[in-house]
């Protein structure tokens, strides 16, 4: 029976293992401090496609192919594909991934789509016995996002210091229930669906500030319902608050009575080398946390180098029209707990 205290938390009776993960990124992401961890990068950002929109789809496809290859399985063994991106009507995922022929659910959660997808996949796999293997793929492409949300790519404008840079990146995850023959892996044990929180921020050049209240809300709810503390996690990993949003989050959290301090890791603030790369407040986009999870955190968890992470992707829900009409940007932050899970086989360390 569920206690009232845990109204919003989902504990998965069957923990869902991330059996493989892979990432594909663009040039600037590869040049960033975590560049060497990504599985694939295309210096031209084009991924062999004619348009930026299709390039994003190809990048997502590339990430899923790499994940399947790592797990040495065929796409036919995947029961459901959860995928999403930033483009209008999620076209990158549809155009890039339709050819796999996997039953597909398109998602939109702005930059929170990766965790939204992982959470939905875990819920589905727990609810339906026959869903044994699922895949989650999310992507974003700087040029496609610039074109859709901001100005033409060649337009020579300046941006404010709080603006963020949409990452050209994709992450793919394969999720499984079956533990037999499984290597050490990262697994999802708990999840919480985010609440849409309107902080009243309407400046599209300050998305960190627009999303921070939603993260604070999710963290507060999680800690209140679970009774856990920040110290129970190796790291609290957030999506793309950037430097500005991260600093704001710390202030908001202290206001509700806890501090993240050195246990907070924001993917957006770390994806680029902000001293050398002029990304202002950091990276953003669906691909930002997706690629960092797939390339860095999931492998670290699988090797037992991290034991327990609280992962919150952060989404800024808005559209070009809502921004032009001066509407506020609504934040959302779904959360999952990822843990190291001992498998039947130890995972080999990658040669470095």
């Amino acid at each position: 029976m569920r206690t009232n205290r845990e109204k919003r938390l989902f504990h998965f009776e069957t923990p869902i293992s991330v059996s493989a993960s892979a990432s594909a990124v663009g040039c600037e992401e590869w040049k960033g401090p975590y560049g060497k961890y990504f599985d694939f990068h295309d210096p031209s950002d084009r991924f062999g496609a004619k348009t930026w929109e299709l390039a994003e789809g190809e990048m997502a496809k590339c990430a899923l192919n790499l994940a399947l290859k790592k797990r040495k399985i065929s796409h036919e063994e995947i029961d459901i594909l959860f995928a999403g991106d930033l483009q209008n009507q999620c076209m990158a995922s549809s155009a890039g991934l339709y050819s796999f022929g996997i039953p597909y659910i398109g998602l939109y959660g702005a930059c929170s789509t990766s965790v939204e997808g992982l959470l939905l996949a875990a819920l589905t796999m727990n609810a339906q016995k026959k869903v044994a293997r699922t895949a989650v793929v999310t992507s974003s492409h700087n040029c496609a996002a610039e074109r859709q949300f901001r100005l033409p790519i060649e337009y020579g404008g300046q941006r404010t210091p709080t603006a963020q840079w949409t990452a050209t990146a994709a992450g793919a995850f394969l999720l499984e229930k079956e533990k037999k023959g499984m290597q050490d892996s990262a697994c999802i044990r708990t999840g919480m669906i985010g609440r849409a929180v309107d902080g009243g921020i309407s400046d599209a050049n300050n998305m960190g500030a627009a999303m921070a209240p939603a993260v604070c809300d999710s963290l507060r709810t999680y800690f209140e319902e679970s009774g856990e503390k920040v110290e129970d996690f190796d790291l609290i990993v957030t999506g793309d608050l950037g430097t500005e949003g991260s600093a704001i989050l710390e202030v908001l959290c202290r206001d509700v009575g806890f501090s993240l301090l050195d246990r907070h890791f924001d993917c957006g603030a770390n994806l680029y080398d902000l001293q050398k790369q002029d990304a202002h407040a950091g990276g953003s986009g669906c691909g930002c946390i997706a690629s960092m999870l797939a390339a860095y955190f999931v492998p670290k968890l699988s090797r037992g180098e991290h034991r327990r992470l609280l992962v919150l992707a952060t989404g800024a829900l808005m559209s070009p029209s809502s921004i032009q009409q001066g509407g506020s940007i609504i934040g959302i932050a779904p959360a999952i707990v990822m843990e190291y899970e001992k498998g039947e086989k130890k995972r080999a360390r990658p040669d470095s």
Binding site: C27, E28, K31, R46, W52, N142, E146, E154, G157, Q277
Partner: protein, 124 residues
């Protein structure tokens, strides 16, 4: 030669000053760059209407005519001349007459750029 150098210095100072005013508006107020451009063109028309633009242009040359206020000044001059020539219809035929070359050039070169160049990804 000396005249040319003096003209260049004046153009540099006045043209630079117009840019600094716009930069201050962008950085210190919430006015977006697109609105600055609109504001500049309209102010050019206004300055010309109240008779300030022509003296400024005579003084600063390209320092006044190259910034978008100059575009506004051109529109206002076109209107004045068209009304003097054609009467009431000049109100409508004037605005784009004097600025026609600039607009046609921008559209032509813009189109040609689209024909010959492919978009490149932004770099950090």
């Amino acid at each position: 030669m000396q005249d040319l150098i003096l003209d260049c210095v004046k153009a540099f100072l006045v043209g630079g000053a117009f840019c600094v005013i716009a930069q201050l508006l962008i950085d210190l107020t919430a006015i977006t760059p697109a609105r600055i451009l609109v504001l500049y063109v309209c102010s050019g028309v206004f300055l010309s209407a109240v008779g300030l633009f022509e003296p400024l242009r005579r003084f600063a040359g390209c320092g006044a005519s190259v910034p978008l206020v100059g575009f506004g000044g051109l529109i206002a001059r076109g209107v004045r001349e068209a009304i003097q020539k054609d009467g009431v219809m000049g109100i409508l035929s004037g605005p784009l007459t004097a600025s026609a070359a600039g607009i046609a050039a921008a559209l032509t070169f813009g189109f040609l750029a689209a024909v010959f160049f492919k978009g490149k990804p932004k770099k950090l």
